[in-house]
């Protein structure tokens, strides 16, 4: 069963019931080939979903609990090890595919693994997304305070109001131009925070380019770097060795 979400985290999450199927699939993949008794169990799950055409891409953060025999990782007498995992699961026509899996143990002695705080303090994109919401919408003070404390980068007190208005207007234009639809207000807010992050990244890339290229808003501007890499790029090109082919004859003469 999925645990209750922390109050400050609710703003950007997809419905937890919606995350259950992709999370269970990711867990199944994680446990594949493991003997009974050594399989991990699902702890807390958070995530978001991006839909396009017939597909949905789930970006999940989950805690898994598994048996632990390593005293440097687990606090004795605790016999369970907590892992913090990032999964990306693609769902198309009811079929799931695990695109990415990244799990690392959480030092239970220090962090109090599995608590909502641990999830909030990992993954800067998640944090910034939550933080930004307070820039554009009025929330109860307590919630805004939570958001603000997550990230100083998008603190509404440090960003000029005209900048905020300008970016909101550009995002609106982006949504219209590329016909974006977001399922929930929370998803839209999360995407806007990604969009703003990306505008800043594009500015940095622009500043460091020695050619005449212009960088800015594109149809990929509401995707995190990780999502973009996962969906559109091809890591096998650098990971796998290309089969040797005969060398082409050089071209000679005019």
């Amino acid at each position: 069963a999925l645990p209750r979400r922390a109050a400050g985290a609710q703003a950007w999450e997809a419905e937890s019931s919606e995350l259950l199927a992709p999370a269970r699939f990711a867990l199944e993949m994680y446990n594949r080939g493991r003997a009974a008794g050594t399989r991990a169990a699902l702890g807390a799950v958070r995530g978001r979903v991006r839909r396009e055409g017939r597909g949905s891409l789930y970006s999940l953060q989950a805690t898994l609990e598994e048996a632990c025999n390593d005293p440097t990782v687990c606090q004795l007498p605790v016999s369970k090890k907590t892992l913090l995992c990032s999964f990306q699961v693609l769902e198309e026509l009811g079929k799931h595919t695990l695109l990415r899996r990244d799990c690392r143990p959480v030092d239970t002695k220090i962090t109090g693994a599995g608590s909502p705080q641990m999830l909030q303090s990992s993954g800067s994109n998640f944090i910034q997304g939550s933080a930004l919401i307070s820039l554009f919408q009025s929330y109860p003070d307590e919630k805004s305070e939570n958001f603000r404390s997550f990230s100083p980068l998008f603190n509404k007190d440090t960003l000029p109001e005209d900048f905020v208005m300008q970016v909101a207007s550009i995002f609106k234009e982006f949504v219209i131009t590329y016909n974006r639809t977001y399922e929930t207000k929370e998803e839209a807010q999360w995407r806007m925070s990604v969009f703003i992050n990306n505008m800043m990244r594009a500015q940095k890339i622009q500043a460091l380019d020695r050619g005449t290229a212009r960088y800015g808003v594109t149809k990929f501007s509401d995707l995190t770097e990780e999502e973009f890499r996962t969906i559109y790029l091809n890591p096998l090109l650098k990971e796998l060795r290309s089969k040797r082919m005969p060398l082409a004859m050089s071209v000679n003469g005019p």
Partner: protein
Amino acid sequence: APPEWDWRNKGAVTKVKDQGMCGSCWAFSVTGNVEGQWFLKRGDLLSLSEQELVDCDKLDKACLGGLPSNAYSAIKTLGGLETEDDYGYNGHLQTCNFSAEKAKVYINDSVELSQNEQKLAAWLAKNGPISIAINAFGMQFYRHGISHPLRPLCSPWLIDHAVLLVGYGNRSDIPFWAIKNSWGTDWGEEGYYYLHRGSGACGVNIMASSAVVN
């Protein structure tokens, strides 16, 4: 090499396609090359099927990525490529539905090209568009112009996107490669990317290859 060349003006390049939410750039890069080779050897420009490679090239991993060198082998093994009309693209892995009777194009072999950009330009001008792979740094936000990222930001050793070289030239004395991408016409310059030529920018010269059609 001639000072400039553009296969788009010579009818060797099909319209820009869109890979959708699928890491199948390798298939688009290879079909683009085969389209050019077939046009130059047989005189017909046919839009060829990437979905056939996504579904039937078992050496590669469909939407999770692939290698052009494997794709050439798969085309040879399968017995050719069907056209886009006969085997349309849907951007996700499905059961292989290749039919040898419907194959319109075949290849005899594949070759690896020089890493020297002058030689690559000469080869392109004489022989047609080239399948390459690059580091896609900055492409998420590219709109237009000639991209020339600082080398440490766009390492030739972190190649993660396959595309198609279709031409080269100079704009205001800046040498460029014209690169056909597979992210639709609503990205870049009508679907094209322009990258600095002559500096090994983003590993443009590292993985150049082509099919051979006799």
